[in-house]
Symmetry: C2
Subunit: 300 residues, 2 copies
């Protein structure tokens, strides 16, 4: 199944990066774009990463072989309804949402007559908007494809090949497992980072200016992901509620154990725990998902 | 008070960086080193960042105008006792410990006849040992000096000037306030990072290999500081127990609020919180304690 025309709905960090990557890696493929925000459409036209930016969702997807929905997960159902009138009969629908079971259900309901193959490129930065995207965002990163039961194999293959062409490595799993994996590798870390940055900024004993001044001691590592897009993350937590709450419960148990060890002065337990976590970091660097520099894989 | 000879006890990441910075920035100053580990002394001699590495703590500090103790905070009292027999009468004693009230008391008790001016350079990496140090580690970073009541002003000035010469910006505050500031900017972030990395590695539903593979989603940001030296951090939590537990209680309250917002589907509360934390990140970048790259201030 050859893809000659891609439509991207939602032109923020991820959508605009997909557009740029298609233009860089798949030169024969046409890219149409749309965003619900007037200002984003104007900015996207000025940046020129799409061949055309349409003024309506249905117009953007006309003649598209593949439609990629790159809107916050809470808006996927509306976006699917908006594109429905413009879709070709054999168009494949995919998305880039960070939670999958809920999105898959919403898309299947809104587009019952189309091949819907949800996907999640595990890549991003803390920046938002069409100017923040770049063509190499997916290079060497994983993209998880979650085909629903009974999905047509040629459509799965097309989505897989598309992401591979954009530089990603593709893994396939079911949506429920995806949501648990991402709850622990992405959603819980974001929740914790958001929490601690908020906590630090509201202590009476320590001023916000002191927190900022001495952030090199460790705090600044958390602030990067706590600067991520608020609406996108609001929707992720609401959409993946069960898995997030389940992993959060485990985290709370572990934190209570370490809290007790500190209160009791149990140095042996602390040292054992801290030694174990070191090994995880080494594995991440060895597997190329970070480097020791550390610039999180993004070179200057 | 001119410093012609510095002794550094403890030649890990921080101690070896101090030695390298002295050689790079203060060419007329002699550097003697000592480490309780035979292997570290051998490695330090091979690396050559000290003018001489002694085989005993008392021998290392002979004739030193300034002694910098760069051992885990749980070992400060023993290190102070070990150097006592070798100290000049007018030698100034300082340290680099990450908690200050307990260290100040231990050093004052062990060395009642000397000027003890504790200090804490807020700088580091997740790497450990003499090979991990580098001369520019303190460039543009803050060093907090916590002079005890009644400390001789010329000794405070000497320690301040020393750190400024090594590239640091110096701030002075009392030890108790330091410990609260660092609990929130450094100790709590490390505790949380250690916790979540441990939690992620022990979930039954998600394999450790999946956690590593998809860590680019946010998890890897935590692993950097969770790879920090286990013994150093064990001692920090034991030494700064009260301030760490106090800030942890605030964190737990805030996390419970966000947990409840997720459970109730309260998107407005989540979005408001996430929008607020973004501003903190911007301030950190504006004040030069991180950059947007983000490589945490360490260029390739």
């Amino acid at each position: 199944m050859a893809i000659g025309r891609v439509a991207i709905v939602g032109l923020g960090l991820i959508g605009s990066s997909v557009a740029r990557a298609v233009k860089a890696r798949l030169p024969g493929v046409a890219v149409a774009g749309y965003d619900a925000s007037d200002a984003v459409r104007v900015e996207a036209r000025a940046l020129g990463f799409c061949d055309a930016v349409a003024d309506g969702a249905a117009a953007a997807v006309a003649d598209a072989d593949l439609v990629v929905l790159a809107v916050p997960v809470g808006r996927m159902a509306d976006a699917a309804a908006a594109i429905a009138p413009g879709l070709k009969a054999d168009a494949i629908i995919s998305d880039v949402g960070s939670s999958k079971a809920g999105v898959a259900a919403a898309l299947a309901k809104a587009l019952p007559d189309h091949a819907v193959i949800p996907a999640h490129p595990v890549a991003g930065t803390e920046n938002s908007g069409p100017a923040a995207g770049f063509a190499t965002l997916f290079d060497g990163r994983w993209c998880i494809v979650t085909p629903p039961a009974g999905a047509p194999q040629d459509a799965v293959t097309a989505v897989t090949s598309f992401w591979q062409a954009l530089g990603a490595r593709v893994e396939t799993m079911d949506a429920a497992h995806h949501d648990m994996v991402l709850a622990v590798t992405s959603h819980l870390p974001h929740l914790i980072a958001y929490t601690i940055v908020g906590t630090a900024s509201e202590l009476e004993e320590v001023t916000e200016s002191e927190v900022i001044k001495y952030s090199a001691g460790g705090f600044r590592d958390f602030t990067r992901i706590a600067a991520s897009d608020p609406v996108m993350w609001r929707d992720v937590f609401l959409a993946n509620k069960d898995a997030v709450l389940a992993t959060l419960q485990r985290f709370n148990e572990d934190l209570t154990v370490l809290q007790q060890a500190i209160r009791r002065g149990d140095g042996a337990r602390l040292e054992e725990w801290f030694t174990r976590t070191r090994a995880i970091r080494r594995s991440i660097i060895e597997q190329g998902q970070d480097d020791a520099a550390p610039d999180f894989g993004r070179k200057h």
